[in-house]
């Protein structure tokens, strides 16, 4: 029988002002459903979860929008979000209840894991509970090539994605590394048939052997080391899953394209890292990683807690400015505008990808937040919380919710986890534990 000839399409598409040009690989249309909008098998389009995190907080006086509910006006530092106003929910007036024992870290641990961190003095130590991205990845990350993807924009930036105490998921630190990992090493275009590769089962044999060795080691090691090895084994199992996927025919996805290759390096300009360019290059890769269903969970670490990068035009590092700049801190305001512009870029990039009868953004829940509220005094009251995307219609957007009573910020985490399909009674531990969710943002 003669095989159906598949037309090779070449698509050139400028993404958001032509920053990235994506070239489409052959799409095997026989795998598409009638409208080309969902898995041919009829499965619903998947939900995705993401974090956008920046360091050093906000200026609450310039952060909180006027008006609540659907009629709100972006505040001065939220101005860049005006364009995506109907796609986000701004949540203000809530508080992180971790006790403010470690500046920048108590807030981070509270808003990301709903629990106080472990510390023995002045230095950052570790989260005691997994961060929300990993809680969700545990539930929805099993079917994709990557359980989760982490990437940091600030050069040398760190991630606060924790699987367990002292088990941090390090971020990709450059667009080139992110691109290589997702779209070069072992990427199979959804809808195409992978070439049989005899190396793949051999790689699995190696991993089987490693599991055996780790198992023997676990029998003689102490409890703590045993648990550490268990985390390593989680990684081995994830890699096995990846190799398994490489031998399957992934279902075709209409919006999936290989994004344009980013630059190898993004050198400093006047001693200042081009964070916007780096961020956009990474987001362009991320968007296609999601559209191609390579992962359903991501975290973007725009800048680190206590991070001190020099922004364009600033006369000191960001962290130093939050403490030292007098008055209304105009430079800190500029930096917040810069960061919010990049959050807006992420939201717009996701909204620009059609998926099913809506967009990729509509199948996402994204938490935008920081390591404290007022950077100057590391406040945990008036916490900055942004949510983008409706998560397949589970969340409300286009509103400003103002808490009247410094409600527990972990309520938002519970709402997000439930929106992602998890059935949880509570989120977090200790004083920061929430047993009720924030119904105001739920549909």
């Amino acid at each position: 029988m003669k095989r159906t000839k598949l037309s090779r399409r070449t698509m050139l598409r400028g993404m958001l002002g032509g920053a990235a040009v994506a070239i489409g690989l052959p799409a095997l249309e026989i795998f598409l459903n009638a409208n080309g909008t969902a898995y041919a098998q009829g499965d619903a389009l998947p939900k995705r979860f993401g974090i956008f995190f920046w360091g050093n907080g906000t200026l609450p006086d310039f952060w909180v929008p006027k008006g609540t509910g659907p009629t709100w006006e972006p505040s001065p530092t939220l101005a860049p979000l005006a364009e995506v106003k109907d796609k986000i929910a701004v949540i203000t007036g809530m508080k992180v209840y971790t006790g403010n024992t470690v500046p920048h870290f108590s807030g981070s641990a509270g808003i990301l894991s709903g629990a106080a961190p472990l510390n023995n003095g002045t230095e950052l130590q570790t989260f005691t509970q997994p961060s929300i991205d990993q809680v969700i990845a545990e539930a929805v990350g099993q079917d994709t090539r990557f359980r989760s993807l982490e990437f940091a924009v600030q050069p040398g930036g760190r991630s606060l994605s924790y699987s367990a105490p002292h088990s941090v998921n390090p971020p990709e630190n450059s667009p080139a590394a992110l691109f290589q990992r997702v779209f070069v090493d072992g990427f199979v275009m959804p809808g195409s048939t992978p070439m049989p590769d005899p190396r793949l089962p051999l790689r699995q044999s190696i991993l089987d052997g490693i599991m055996e060795e780790a198992g023997s080691l676990q029998q003689v090691l102490g409890q703590t080391d045993k648990e550490r090895l268990e985390k390593h084994l989680d990684g081995i199992r994830a890699l096995e899953k990846q190799i398994e996927k490489l031998q399957q025919n992934p279902p075709s996805l209409a919006a999936c394209m290989v994004p344009g290759k980013p630059l190898d390096e993004y050198p400093d300009v006047d001693g200042r890292p081009p964070m916007s360019e780096i961020s956009r290059a990474m987001v362009d890769i991320l968007v296609m990683a999601l559209a191609c269903d390579q992962t359903r969970v991501f975290s973007q670490w725009f800048s680190s807690p206590v991070g001190n990068p020099l922004y364009p035009g600033a006369t000191a590092g960001h962290h130093q400015l939050t403490h030292d700049e007098p008055g209304d801190q105009p430079q800190v305001q500029s930096i917040l505008l810069y960061i919010m512009s990049e959050f807006a870029y992420l939201v717009k990039a996701l909204a620009a990808v059609p998926e099913g009868d809506s967009t990729l953004l509509d199948h996402c829940a994204i938490l935008g937040t920081s390591d404290c509220s007022y950077g100057k005094s590391h406040l945990l009251e008036e916490y900055p919380i942004l949510v983008a995307g409706t998560c397949n219609g589970a969340l409300k957007t286009g509103l400003h919710y103002r808490s009247p009573s410094a409600e527990n910020a972990s309520k938002v985490l519970l709402s997000l986890a439930r929106a992602m399909g998890m059935t949880l009674d509570s989120f977090g531990e200790g004083d920061a534990r929430a047993t009720t969710s924030l119904t105001a943002i739920e549909v």
Binding site: L202, G235, D268, D270, A316
Partner: protein
């Protein structure tokens, strides 16, 4: 036999390398006067106390060193692996508690194949790890010989028969599937390099026959402990052979290897790793400095400044075997042309590093005059007396500084006609009781370094006002950076702090409260040995804290 291969004679050993307890007992036997330890008093007994520990994950540097030791200096070591996870700022401490992430597992797999391909592609390299000539792709006997001989180096212990069978079987499976024995080597090697037996340093211990009720590390575990502590890499053949012969649980066999290892050129790599971790020199790669303020700044400054500091320590410890505290007073340093221009001294060489000596009346001496220290503990556009003082307190004197209160206005006034210098701008730290308690621990030290800007260049004025570099350290006043260096050199906390840092580096764990007694005795021995770092390395490596194990 070449001279280099001759075993070291005991007469050749410097007395300072022998454990102080041994020195003391020799002295007692010969009824000589007590050692010239002037005013040290009686030696506190060394507690028979195991240090806390965990199965350390190889650091990025250790991974690279191990790969080069296994396959040759010229092998290209992949750098994209699981990054170090510093704890309290220390990579070594983090290695005992951190795990390997999913991303790390992916990266280690990719790195393992990248290395394995290079080994197979180079006939000489392949020959160095393949002890037999395979008769064909399915030569199981040769496959097992390969697994057994290379596995012993990679796992740093002889392999169990089941391990050899499994790796040998994998080799033949890959070789027959892919049609060549070389492909099999590639897969078996990639398997070893992803094994937790390579990537971690499991330490379990065994009952100590000489100390009923106590545990000690096995001879093989000691080999890895010693090599990572002293060389920051895997054991060499001689150490592994000594370990297999059970010599490293015996005092004499252990001392013999410790002395050999400290005298080996590889000990320089070990010292560099310690100094890098202790002084946070890794952060010099990501220095954030505004070149519009610091016109001499360029991205090569950080790495060059690190190299300077490492060379100064190397010189002091291995070339001079000098008193550790000399590092604060030495006028000798090592610079490349870039650093020479920043120090305003003639470059000793056209490229690379050369030794220079600052003039006797130079404003800077010793470690606190290094660009590395001065630039690391500054802001991107200015100096910081507080950060510099904090460095001296925490890293040189081991004094704890409480964290800053969370709800406090920490803003400094801008430079103005009333307050032109940093000293004037931070005056509030001295008067406001909320600031004073902690800032008085730091600022008066850091103000002594105000003659050096945020990248360590000398300046006499700030905003046209002459800088006053005076201050005090624990009540001892100083007029400038040179005198500050003397105050630090003379400070009683300098020696025990250095011992604590090196001991916690060796054990890769923050010492528990009760281990203070161990550190006190080690400090006594360190002082008695004239503060020689080589002696201290040996004292720690042979101490009960390093040899005894906890119940797993």
């Amino acid at each position: 036999m070449s001279f280099r291969d001759e075993p070291l004679q005991t007469t050749f050993l410097s007395r300072a390398l022998l454990p102080a307890a041994l020195v003391a007992s020799l002295v007692a036997c010969s009824e000589e006067a007590p050692p010239p330890s002037g005013g040290l008093g009686p030696r506190p007994p060394m507690p028979e106390l195991a240090a806390q520990t965990g199965a350390q994950r190889l650091t990025v540097a250790q991974y690279g060193n191990a790969i080069r030791d296994l396959f040759g200096e010229d092998i290209n070591v992949p750098t994209s692996i699981e990054p170090d996870a510093p704890l309290d700022g220390f990579v070594t401490l983090g290695s005992s508690v951190s795990t390997i992430s999913s991303r790390g597992v992916e990266k280690y797999e990719k790195a393992a194949f990248a290395i394995a391909e290079q080994v197979v592609a180079d006939p000489a390299r392949k020959a160095s790890v393949l002890p037999c000539a395979p008769a064909g792709a399915n030569d199981l006997d040769c496959a097992k010989k390969f697994a057994s001989s290379l596995g012993r180096r990679v796992y740093r212990r002889p392999l169990a028969a089941a391990e050899v069978d499994r790796l040998g079987g994998l080799l033949v499976q890959a070789a027959t599937t892919l049609g060549s024995f070389d492909k099999g080597i590639e897969f078996a090697l990639a398997a070893m390099l992803q094994s937790p037996n390579f990537l971690y340093r499991p330490q379990v211990g065994e009952p100590d026959p000489k100390n009923p009720g106590k545990r000690r590390y096995t001879s093989l575990e000691m080999a890895s402990k010693l090599s990572f502590f002293l060389w920051n890499s895997i054991p060499d053949e001689e150490l592994l052979a000594a370990a297999e012969a059970g010599k490293l649980t015996e005092d004499e066999g252990l001392s013999e290897q410790v002395v050999r290892m400290i005298e080996s050129p590889r000990a320089r790599e070990g010292l560099r790793a310690f100094v890098t971790d202790w002084l946070h020199l890794g952060e010099l790669d990501a220095l954030s400095k505004d070149p519009t303020v610091f016109t001499y700044y360029s991205p090569e400054v950080g790495p060059a400044a690190r190299e300077e500091t490492l060379r100064v320590f190397e010189h002091l410890v291995f070339d001079l075997d000098a008193d550790y505290r000399d590092v604060f007073l030495t006028r000798t340093t090592f610079v490349n042309p870039k650093l020479a221009s920043m120090y305003a001294v003639p470059a000793p060489t056209d490229e690379g590093f050369g030794m220079v000596e600052f003039p006797e009346d130079a404003p800077r001496i010793g470690l606190l005059g290094h660009i590395s220290v001065l630039a690391l503990h500054s802001h991107p556009r200015s100096t910081s007396a507080t950060l510099r003082g904090k460095f001296v307190r925490e890293d040189l004197l081991c004094d704890g500084i409480p964290p800053p209160p969370v709800n406090v206005n920490t803003g400094l006034p801008d430079p103005s006609t009333e307050a032109r210098t940093l000293r004037e701008r931070i005056a509030q730290h001295n008067t406001d009781p909320a600031c004073r308690a902690c800032h008085m621990l730091m600022d008066p030290i850091g103000l002594g370094l105000e003659n050096f800007d945020g990248i360590g260049r000398f300046r006499s004025k700030e905003t046209d006002a002459v800088i006053d570099p005076s201050g005090n350290l624990d009540g001892a006043a100083f007029a400038n950076a040179r005198e500050l260096a003397l105050r630090i050199h003379d400070n009683d906390k300098v020696a025990p702090c250095f011992v604590r840092k090196l001991y916690s580096y060796a054990t890769a764990f923050e010492p528990a409260k009760e281990e203070t007694a161990t550190i006190n005795t080690l400090t006594y021995d360190f002082r008695a040995a004239g503060h020689r770092v080589k002696s201290l390395l040996s004292f720690i490596a042979t101490s009960p804290g390093f040899r005894l194990a906890h119940e797993p």
